[in-house]
Symmetry: C2
Subunit: 210 residues, 2 copies
């Protein structure tokens, strides 16, 4: 095991260091976030810091980079209060990654990257038609992270769209069946294979494999 | 695609719903967090909501559940300001999962679940010896999430320990080589396989596969 101090890491070239630090936290739940501005112009961006906040109420967070670096998605969420999160499949990882390019505010990223905006009744934000797990959220809280001017954006899930066959007997989702990818660092995408599921852990009995 | 409204989901049985909602955000960067209390008694817990906050400074966050549900790790972090995060390998996923059991404050979870506490010079929190990616953090900010009494706990990376051979030419970490698992829901662990890495996305040129 090599020991790397933060002082040592701090001397590395900027992109080398960013790759390293971005990988350190492990695999991430990358998804495409769809929004619309007040004129109903669609916007699409890829976000790899989506985090489960709570089940009841069903709250989902994501980290939005400083506004100067990533303004459009958060501006639209603030303006309309509604957004969609869409899982990514191996068949469109290139298009998903391309949506991280800094398009101008007026550009429709769906068209620019080659994905299909899908609209559903009563939800003003666009979904990604190619995705097999799509959900809509209503903004509940934007929590500023003072230390680096990022924001934890928290939404309440309002609607979920997926193939019913992927919901297992106990509510668990078969994401390999739905082709959901994980990400790593700023540019890598992975498929997955199940190692094991375990029962609820108790202090007084051995762990049970499901 | 089946449409599930949150009103419909809200009527589901509690554990079924929790499995479903916990899977909705996709794969997670599960790790073991090691802490010590002021009397140097070690504590270990598994956390699956670790999130990259920023690269420079290198900041890592995790969501701590309400204090009544998960008190020990956060109490120790508040008391000492120091903690470790350790990736999980398939060979000890059962032990890692067992650390989610609600052990009393005095219990040494390393011993209780069968993992090895490893101490390194100058760092008071224990590492997991079986892990191939270990890093230490210094607490910088605890951000309360008002909507469900959770906390975004943010630390600055101070030291990283891993096999040098896993660092690729551009700083990217070969986590499959290090056997790092991803998690899904509250109880599932996965290995991964690379689909693709892509170059930095630009608006005026096609995406490039690395």
């Amino acid at each position: 095991m090599q020991h790397l101090s933060i002082e040592h890491i701090g001397q590395w070239e900027r992109f080398y260091r960013a790759n390293f630090i971005n990988c350190l936290t492990g695999y991430k739940s990358v998804s495409l976030i769809g929004t619309a501005d007040v004129s109903n112009r669609p916007n699409l961006g890829v976000f790899s810091s989506i985090v489960h906040i709570g089940s009841d109420p069903a709250l989902v967070g994501y980290i939005n980079r400083p506004l100067a670096a990533a303004p459009h998605t958060l501006a639209n969420i603030k303006a309309t209060g509604i957004y969609t999160i869409n899982h990514i499949r191996p068949g469109f990882v290139a298009q998903a990654h391309q949506s991280s390019a800094k398009y101008d505010a007026g550009v429709n990223e769906f068209e620019a990257v080659g994905l299909t905006a899908e609209y559903k009744a009563g939800i003003i934000a666009p979904f990604v038609a190619e995705s097999l797990v799509q959900y809509a959220l209503k903004l509940v809280e934007i929590v500023p992270v003072k230390h680096n001017n990022t924001f934890l954006v928290i939404g309440a899930v309002t609607d979920v769209f997926l193939p019913a066959s992927a919901i297992q007997q106990d509510g668990f989702l078969n994401l390999p069946q739905l082709e959901t990818v994980a990400s790593l660092g700023v540019d890598a995408y992975f498929t997955t294979e199940l190692v094991a599921r375990f029962g609820y852990a108790k202090v007084d009995r051995p762990i049970e494999k499901l």
